[in-house]
Symmetry: C2
Subunit: 158 residues, 2 copies
Amino acid sequence: MPLDTESPEPAHASFTIERVYPQAPARVFNAHADIGLKRRWFAEGDGFELHHYALDFRVDGRETARFSFQGGPEIVMEMVHQVIVPDRRIVIAYRMAVGETPISASLSTIEFVPQGAGTRLIYTEQGIYFGGEGEIAGREEGSRGLLENLAEVLAEQG
Amino acid sequence: MPLDTESPEPAHASFTIERVYPQAPARVFNAHADIGLKRRWFAEGDGFELHHYALDFRVDGRETARFSFQGGPEIVMEMVHQVIVPDRRIVIAYRMAVGETPISASLSTIEFVPQGAGTRLIYTEQGIYFGGEGEIAGREEGSRGLLENLAEVLAEQG
């Protein structure tokens, strides 16, 4: 993964992921607002060592995660909430960095649309990726994995 | 301009504007970093009444502008710096609201590319516009106007 912010070809891109959950929008939304739940599906996982996690769920409030993966360098995620419409929509801006070197800056919209008794979650990310085109597919795959983690955490809640 | 965040059709969009300035990249970059210069081209203008302006030019530092236009409602711009590469690139996330009602959330990349003795500024905005498609053309026009204001402020500097 190229990490040089001086790369001549940072890439702007956008992608959208949809995932249907059997839980109602209020439940899926709450898993973004509650620090204990969010931490479980977003910041914990096999092979990850979490050094720091904080979530301040309000407009202009930040989320920070510092972690390493399989003994690698520290990765830092810094997010700030842009728009919150309860049970319906969250817009966030976030930056990923390896140490002090940014690898991306993104704006993501998370929409919670009722579907039967459940929720269709629509995740749209727009961003600039300093590793270039090659980094975008990995980000989409990583985002899809997080939404799978979310499904498991919601199911465990019963 | 529709202001309802509950609009069923917020629109994601992206646009790019290029503007060439006779001044070197360090000068054009500095007009984004210096509060006095930034305020002049970004926050002041005929018909605008500026109620509050603040700029903290560093990563995670904020810029706030509160103003009204021709006696209309207060418009609030809240920005946070995401990435700063001196004389070369700035990435920002910003939100516009009328009162407490958000009308957009955006991620913008400003690139400063040397062109002869001058600078090619490349402005790329990606965002979600709660007024829908109709709002995007206006945002692009407004952004283009700001880059014209910047040209005037740089020229006055001599």
